[in-house]
Amino acid sequence: MELEVFKKNDVAILKISGDVDLYSSPQVRNKILALLAKTQKNLLVNLKDVSYMDSSGVATLVEALQLTNKRGGKLRLYHLGPAIRDVFELSRLDKVFDICETESQALNGIIAE
């Protein structure tokens, strides 16, 4: 699993690649907590190259959502492949999360603020 952080117009984008499972999700969690601690209100997560995600990965994103909500920020996920989309549907969290198709959709309204 690999993590990369980009900035687009001051918005942090976390790109996750590979498998997010019991082994790697703590690394995702640490990275997200570090980003949000650094006065980052909003966070976009690019899931395009995530090949597998289990419940620990979903749990990590739930925690991130709660944190950003509490701070009045936004968490948006985008570029979900079919396997990852299925996991969110199974967890019935596809309606709870703000899931976008593309990066520009995910940036929409956040940059304008």
């Binding site: 498998d19 019991l22 082994y23 079919p82 967890s91």
Partner: protein, 144 residues
């Protein structure tokens, strides 16, 4: 439809130490088995997810932490079903406690058992072995 075709059943065994970094080995073996049996993408992903979640729970709940003790997976390969038995030697599961949380209670965690029960056709937790637990998971595969 009365003729019975002798079903060929092959058995695969995989044993890993109960540590998160080795779950990938079980996932990729299950993936290959699903490919050999030509499961559709959705069945394949569902089976991999359920097996992985069940193994994660063995590490988290039966052993309580990563350990050198084994997770033993026995997979029966047939045309029309995927059956896996997961054996651990950790503390006996209290089957009343193995249940998914309410999904509308938004909090991290508590999704694994929900995933397993949603995607598999049979989920049997058996804590009667001499030591540890045996979990039987079955997925019936639709003919295409």
């Amino acid at each position: 439809m009365t003729g019975q075709k002798a079903r060929q059943i092959d058995t695969i065994e995989i044993v890993i130490p109960a540590k998160p970094q080795f779950l990938k080995i079980i996932r990729s073996a299950v993936n290959s088995i699903c490919e050999i049996r030509k499961f559709c993408r959705e069945d394949m992903n569902n089976v991999i997810l359920a097996v992985d979640e069940a193994c994660s729970n063995i590490i988290k709940h039966a052993y309580g932490k990563p350990t050198n003790q084994p997770i033993q997976a026995t997979i029966k390969i047939c045309d029309d079903r995927f059956e896996i038995h997961l054996r651990d030697y950790g503390k006996k599961a209290d089957s009343n406690k193995i249940k998914p949380r309410q999904l509308d209670d938004l909090r991290p965690g508590g999704l694994g058992v929900h995933f397993i029960k949603s995607v598999m056709d049979e989920v049997v937790y058996d804590n009667t072995p001499d030591k540890g637990n045996l979990l039987k998971l079955v997925k019936i595969i639709a003919k295409n």
